[in-house]
């Protein structure tokens, strides 16, 4: 056990180092958001009167990444991998157990009161379910205008109605619908209302948690196109969380793959989709059903066995080893670092990107169709 915790410390230290050295291509400038070794452990307690902690669900367990102005970082992973908890931590809706989130150099996990409120104006969220994230008893005008009640400096009282109508127009809804209620809109239109609300305060960062997964295919494309258009117009940074790998590739500049609270692999969309080196990413990509029956024959599919382990009791060493076909003794003993794997270090190949695997190997599983 002592060994393990030492190992964990070493991991944290070298991971922080590694991430500091990451990416940062000069032309991008300073990242707008820097996440360092972020952790969220939900305590598991026992007893009624005398509660004692018997363990913790490690929902997010040491995640680091950077987000640059005007870029989209996609986060993919299966349910329970902690991607939504990351979103909540960035919004400061959940208190982080450890780690830092720097917004323009300022650690927002330590902020409270007025300072937090000021930062929050610049980080907004669009939620998954357009049916439950809009109050059914408020008109669209009230829903989109509500952020102005909290941040009156953005729009003075007399000007709000006009502002809301402008926002409706921006997201492609008829400005005359301002007095309607959410139930009078379809799913896609409601998601547009959610986006308008997210835009109300002119934020710099929008965190989108599965923004299109509740929508029909033909409507999904409309909303994705709208989000891309808005990004260009307002130079927004998106953190785009989703489980649909095709959509994430379409919209993202860089992609991070999460598994059991940790980042398994992170890189540009081309690096992740065409040159994945982590076995989990490879399995995930190979499992995506491709809309082309011709691809059935010449596509290699990696079918993982079993389910994702419980985050309350993750496997020792590499958390993916219980489902991995490459697992060896080393995987149970040592936690793999998120770093450029040894074989690719110093090389100028797309495979040289951050991947947390002891036996990283490049493998293209996405058949061109």
């Amino acid at each position: 056990m002592a060994d393990l915790s030492k190992n964990e410390e070493a991991v944290a230290a070298s991971e922080a180092e590694a991430v500091a050295a990451i990416e940062a291509p000069a032309e991008r400038g300073e990242p707008i958001l820097q996440v360092r070794d972020l952790k969220k452990h939900f305590p598991l307690t026992q007893g009624i009167l005398f509660k004692r902690q018997v363990g913790a669900v490690k929902a997010v367990d040491g995640v680091s990444f950077d987000l640059y102005q005007g870029e989209t970082l996609g986060i993919v992973g299966e349910s329970g991998c902690g991607k939504s908890t990351v979103a909540k931590l960035l919004m400061n809706l959940e208190q982080a157990t450890a780690g830092e989130v720097f917004y323009k150099g300022q650690d927002i996990t330590k902020l409270s009161g007025r300072a937090l409120k000021a930062v929050r104006r610049n980080i907004q969220m669009v939620f998954q379910d357009p049916y439950t994230s809009l109050n059914p008893r408020m008109t669209v005008g009230d829903i989109i205008g509500e952020p102005f009640d909290i941040h009156p400096e953005v729009a003075p009282k007399g000007d709000r109605r006009r502002k809301v109508q402008e926002l409706l127009d921006v997201v492609g809804l008829n400005p005359e619908y301002i007095n309607r209620y959410p139930h009078q809109f379809s799913g896609g239109q409601r998601q547009r209302i959610g986006i308008a609300r997210g835009l109300a305060l002119n934020p710099e960062i929008i965190i989108c948690d599965e923004p299109v997964s509740a929508l029909d295919v033909s409507v999904q494309a409309q909303v994705i196109n709208l989000m891309e258009k808005l990004q260009d117009e307002y130079n927004l940074s998106y953190l785009f969380i989703a489980h649909d790998l095709s959509i994430v590739r379409h919209i993202s500049d860089r992609v991070g793959v999460m598994y059991l609270g940790k980042m398994a692999e992170i890189g540009t969309d081309e690096q992740i989709y065409e040159h994945p080196t982590h076995p989990y990413t490879q399995a995930l990509l190979s499992a995506v059903p491709v809309p082309d029956p011709e691809a059935r024959a010449h596509r290699e599919r990696i079918i993982l066995t079993g389910d994702v382990p419980s985050p309350a009791n993750p496997p020792s060493g590499c958390s993916f080893r219980t489902r991995c076909w490459k697992a060896q003794d080393k995987c149970a003993e040592e936690i793999p670092l998120l770093a450029i794997p040894e074989p690719f270090q110093g090389q100028d190949t797309p495979a040289a990107h951050f991947s947390a695997c002891h036996f990283a190997e490049e493998k293209n599983v996405v058949a061109a169709h």
């Binding site: 033909s218 995930l284 491709v290 809309p291």
Partner: protein, 327 residues
């Protein structure tokens, strides 16, 4: 032919008026064949399946016209009592949401065993042994120990396996799977679809797969029926529809999904919204959203035109299918 649906019409009487959910659907499945019914929400794909299974809510639903021939026998003419014998024993259904389709206060063993007690009159003990056998068959590890557990103790993928086991219990000839993997993660979805396809081959069952996911369809289906506003707009063998869709709606759907193998430019988006079933546009229901629409589309309801004959007939409900297919 194992199952043939002919000119089926279903309406729902609601406070706002009559919603025409299914407006003349024809499709057929043979033993060992997989038919995928593709459509968005409100296209009538699930309602058609419910009518076939005989689990439509009546009222407010009502079958106003049509025939459902199962092994040559019209199910709509059967008495409820006889219908019940068909349901479960000869045709079974797998639902999308396994957690809400399973009874939370009964163990999975009891729920699986119930099939044998009700339909075959087996004893509790025998039916439990059968339940373990079924759980083994859908590859639930440690079936013997887990047979007494409750649905909440299983993961999403395992619960869906239990649903499949339940549908297979009496070795039906037809299985209807309504979005069987929509609620599952991709890696688990692949496991479950593989299992379903394998069991289907083994038992030579007919399978109707209802889904909105063009990817899942491409992986398993033999033929596809695309539905829109309660009608089938295109019917084709799976290879042909992806290569060259003969209906603008199918074409739009295929173009609007992002691809995994390349970044791509702006997505093609079908403009507008699916129609309100209380007020379906006259003529072709797709005309307000269609890039090819002309005056004729706004007045004449297009019949299912024959596109090719062999080997599986291919049809499209578009007046201008030739234009869509070739240009």
């Amino acid at each position: 032919m194992l199952l043939e649906v002919r000119d089926l019409h279903v309406e729902f009487h609601t406070r706002e008026g009559i919603a025409k959910a299914v407006n003349g659907v024809d499709y057929s499945v043979d033993a060992g064949e997989t038919l995928a019914v593709l459509g968005e929400s409100g296209s009538g794909k699930s309602v058609t399946a419910q009518a076939v299974m005989g689990i439509l809510d009546v009222p407010p639903g009502k079958i106003t016209q049509g025939e459902i021939l199962f092994q040559g026998q019209d199910l709509l003419k059967l008495k409820e009592e006889d219908r019940r014998k068909v349901r479960g024993a000869k045709m079974a259904m797998i639902f999308q949401d396994a957690l809400s389709s399973l009874n939370p206060v009964l163990s999975v063993g009891d729920q699986l065993g119930e099939m044998f007690q009700v339909h075959k009159g087996m004893s509790r003990k025998d039916s439990k042994a059968k339940a373990v056998e079924l759980m083994d068959r859908v590859r639930i590890p440690a079936a013997k120990e887990r047979v007494g557990q409750y649905p909440h103790q299983f993961s999403g993928g395992m619960r869906q396996r239990i649903m499949i086991a339940m549908a297979l219990a009496l070795e039906p000839e037809l299985i209807i799977a309504d979005e069987p993997t929509t609620a599952l993660d991709v890696t688990v979805q692949a496991q479950v679809m593989d299992l379903l396809a394998e069991l289907q081959r083994e038992l030579h069952m007919g399978l109707i797969l209802i889904t909105h996911d063009l990817g899942v369809v491409a992986d398993v289906a033999d033929k596809i029926a695309v539905m829109y506003a309660g009608r089938i707009v295109e019917r084709a063998p799976v290879h042909e529809i992806y290569k060259a869709p003969a209906h603008p709606y199918t074409k739009g759907l295929l173009e609007s999904i992002p691809r995994l193998d390349q970044k791509g430019q702006e997505l093609y988006a079908i403009k507008g919204l699916p129609p309100n079933l209380l007020n379906i546009p006259p003529g072709c229901a797709f005309n307000p959203r269609c890039p090819l629409a002309r005056d004729r589309c706004r007045t004449d309801v297009p019949p299912l035109y024959e596109v090719t004959e062999s080997p599986v007939p291919r049809t499209s409900a578009c007046h201008f299918w030739k234009e869509c297919l070739h240009g």
